[in-house]
């Protein structure tokens, strides 16, 4: 599988990183070598939400169930309440967001990550998530529907 799945709709190019899992909302989750799960937003979610003004991650030590708000993101268009993709405890927030939250827009799959979770049970939690191809299909259908 290529590094990214990609589609062009109207003048917009949407990419889905192939090396991670997704919620239908557009949160991504990737298990890191240290056992933490890194969390961020998909390219489609960041593009459709607009330029980020502020991003606030729940405090370290916060225990979350799947779907509990892990971060709130205020953009020029909307306020996004991002649900945790898997249950666990917040162990880190991306420090880069404090001074440059626009990095979520410019690099959503890389330096624009939001938080890291110590997962309660990654193997169980991951079964509720979409793989890249499944999310790509969901995202593409939604993007096309919005396009009309």
């Amino acid at each position: 599988m290529p590094e990214y799945l990609e589609t062009i709709i109207d003048k917009f190019t949407f990419r889905v990183a192939a090396d991670r899992l997704y919620t239908r909302q557009g949160a991504w989750a990737r298990l890191e070598e240290n056992g933490r799960v890194r969390v961020g937003v998909s390219d489609f979610l960041q593009q459709s939400s607009g330029d980020v003004a502020f991003a606030e991650v729940r405090a370290e030590g916060t225990e979350l169930d799947t779907g509990d708000e892990i971060a709130s993101i205020e953009t020029i268009k909307v306020n996004v309440s991002l649900g945790a993709p898997v249950p666990g405890t917040v162990v880190a927030a991306n420090p880069a967001l404090e001074t440059g939250p626009e990095i979520i827009n410019s690099d959503p799959y890389g330096e624009g990550w939001l938080a890291e979770i110590a997962p309660a049970d990654w193997e169980a939690g991951r079964t509720e998530l979409l793989d890249a191809q499944a999310y790509f299909d969901v995202m593409k259908a939604e993007a096309e529907a919005r396009q009309g």
Partner: protein, 146 residues
Amino acid sequence: MTEARKRIVIVPCSGIGKTYGTVSREAAYEVTEDVRPDDTQLVALSLLVLGDEDARAAVAACPAVTIDGCKLACATKMVKESGGTVAREYAVLDVYRRYKQFKPQGIAELNEGGHQLAHALALEIGAAVDETLGQDAPATEGAADA
């Protein structure tokens, strides 16, 4: 002969129907009408886009302060494409990040936060105008007052 004062042109975003565009225009009106009326002149971005001769002449003759409503930065790009010099460029989103308490909402009519953000931006631009005029060489006597 009176000494002509060098002026600054203010070019805000032309985005109609966008909150941040509205903030940019309200700030521009406040600068040119209240904060620094003697030193600044409003130039509509739409006129630059249409190639209006007076607008292009004003931009070519004076340094510009641009106020962009989004990252497309149309105001800044258009001033440069029109042969102008951008003395200072502002993005409303960056200004909002400095004034988180002033959350702008509304389009045709801004909310109170939007008005406050526009006011804060206008004051910043006023200071930038002073700085720009102070840094530049004194205006030449008889220079065109665009």
